[in-house]
């Protein structure tokens, strides 16, 4: 079998026939290059299709062609208008997300560890978590007004329950074997908790935080549409009132790009700081 293989290889080299597939193989041999060029192609094809469809098929007022959108975006970027809206929205997300995650992790660890607390609070949590941040906007406005506090609260609300549930599950599922092994070696209950159970829950906590981050992005927009005078959501709402579809599309694209960048940054931080906690080697 090996002789057949090598003979084929030699004949290809001699004739030079296989040079085109060879080049293809060389290109495909670098997965990063391949992935990146395919992603670029995907975006390019997408924008071209959009341009053609919105110019010739759909009403360009309802779906502005990408070139028009970019033309609108440039002065908005240059004047710092977008940047200031982005900054305002991002600070809101960051404050709500950070406090919500922190509270979620602390409560989650407690609920995962103290059975009585879990049994007492779980029914309430189970009911409250169906109240999405959007559902809480009206009451948040009454409680906190349309200032920053109501936005912090809404993002906090959305983040808290997701992180809480994941953290509890993670603490719950810390392998009994690992705890027992540590107990044998002489670890105290506190040491088992801090050095074994909490680190074992990290992958669950991180997953919860990623989902919560996505949800924060989802809920900041309606919050700003309904109750704010700044931020990306406010930009959307104002543009809608003035029928400026170009500006609406700029805002929508901004949300896409922002979400993507933030998720990448989040993953980068996880890879750099928490990588060692993210691997499992258990057989069970």
């Amino acid at each position: 079998m090996s002789t057949v293989y090598s003979r084929e290889g030699r004949s290809a080299e001699e004739t030079g026939e296989a040079s085109a597939p060879r080049r293809w193989q060389a290109w495909a041999a670098f997965p990063a290059v391949r992935k990146l060029s395919l992603a670029a192609a995907s975006l390019l094809i997408g924008f071209c299709t959009w341009q053609v469809l919105s110019t010739y098929v759909f009403n360009p007022f309802l779906i502005p062609p990408p070139l028009d959108v970019f033309r609108t975006a440039i002065p908005m970027l240059a004047s710092g208008e977008i940047l200031s809206d982005v900054t305002i929205s991002m600070v809101r997300v960051l404050v709500g997300f950070t406090t919500g995650s922190l509270a979620g992790v602390i409560m989650g660890v407690l609920l995962g560890r103290v059975r009585l607390l879990h049994d007492l609070l779980d029914p309430i949590m189970e009911l409250l978590r169906y109240l999405s941040p959007t559902a809480m906007i009206p009451i948040a406005v009454i409680w906190f007004g349309i200032g920053e506090m109501s936005k912090y609260f809404l993002i906090f609300w959305g983040t808290f329950f997701i992180v809480l549930i994941n953290t509890t599950a993670g603490v719950w599922r810390a392998p009994l074997t690992r705890q027992r092994a540590a107990a044998c070696l002489g670890a105290s209950r506190l040491q088992i908790f801090v050095l074994v159970i909490v680190p074992s829950a990290v992958p669950y906590i991180v997953t919860g935080m990623r989902v919560a981050m996505a949800s924060s992005f989802m809920s900041i927009i309606p919050a700003e549409i309904l109750a704010a005078n700044s931020g990306i959501g406010y930009l959307l709402q104002q543009s809608s009132l003035l029928l400026q579809t170009n500006r609406i599309f700029v805002a929508l694209l901004t949300i896409c790009v922002l979400g993507f960048i933030v998720d990448r940054i989040f993953r980068l931080i996880v890879d750099k700081v928490l990588a060692r906690y993210m691997s499992f080697v258990s057989q069970t």
Binding site: P175, A182, C184, Q191
Partner: protein, 260 residues
């Protein structure tokens, strides 16, 4: 000396109670290598968990030395089959050992020496910066052994530690374990369902019956020099004898499952 006298273990659940062990007595001398042998579900791991102090007895007594066993103790270290979950996957090989030394409150000045000694003993000293996920199953199990030995317990409790390894690695691990045992002279209680494994390792084999109401049906002394060759006539006869002892149990287990 480890001693269990007439112990019973009953598990309560919503579906009723299950008598796992019913009157098990066994005395294990210091420095002895004892295998608990039996089919799946014979309560051998339950017995080991009681010796480790993970589970309380429902009746009878379990003692280590003169003191009753009431919880996990530093002098008795358990080695689990699933080394992946027993180790801390976020710590490197060296850090896993240091974790044990830290919780055992061993002075920091001694850490380097102890770590080196035990990693060398199991042949992992060149892998000290790797993480458990980067090791093979056999290497992970050796790391678990090194970590347990580093805190210098008197008794090693091993719950089918090599059952998940391939046959070649398992044989190698037997050699490693026997070498270590002969060097450090600690007591080993080793749970297995593998007759050949029990014969190649143990001073004595305690054969257990299938539950419910498991008991030790027979204790067999093996007075043969190690390493033991399974092709040897005496060893082969012993193998046959134990197999005959376990077979009725297996048939009974099958029949009970079919009846359900």
């Amino acid at each position: 000396m480890l001693r269990v006298t007439n112990i019973r273990k009953i598990y309560q659940s919503v579906r009723g109670s299950y008598v796992a062990l019913d009157g098990v007595s066994l005395t294990i001398d210091d420095g002895e290598f004892v295998c608990l042998l039996g089919a799946s579900g014979c309560g051998k791991s339950t017995l080991l968990n009681i010796l480790a102090g993970f589970e309380p007895v429902s009746g009878g007594t379990a003692t280590f030395g003169d003191a009753p066993i009431t919880g996990p103790g530093r002098e008795r270290v358990m080695f689990f089959q699933d080394s992946g979950s027993a180790l801390l996957p976020w710590l490197s090989v060296e850090e896993n050992i240091r974790f044990a030394l830290r919780v055992r409150k061993i002075p920091k000045a001694e850490w380097a020496g102890i770590t080196k000694r035990y990693l060398e003993m199991v042949g992992l000293d060149t892998h000290r910066n790797k993480f458990p996920a980067e090791l093979s199953g056999g290497m992970r199990q050796r790391l678990q052994i090194a970590r347990g030995l580093a805190v210098e317990p008197n008794v090693l409790l091993m719950d089918e530690p090599f059952a998940a390894l391939d046959a070649l690695t398992r044989r190698r691990m037997h050699k490693v374990l026997l070498d270590i045992w002969q060097r450090i002279g600690k007591t080993i209680v080793f749970v297995t369902h593998d007759i050949a494994e029990a014969i190649s390792l143990a001073d004595r084999i305690a054969v257990m019956s299938v539950g419910p109401r498991s008991v030790i049906t027979k204790v067999i002394e093996i007075d043969l020099p190690r390493p033991r060759d399974l092709a040897d006539a005496k060893v082969a006869r012993l193998f046959g004898e134990i197999e005959d002892l376990l077979t009725p149990d297996l048939i009974r287990l099958d029949e009970r499952l079919e009846a359900h």
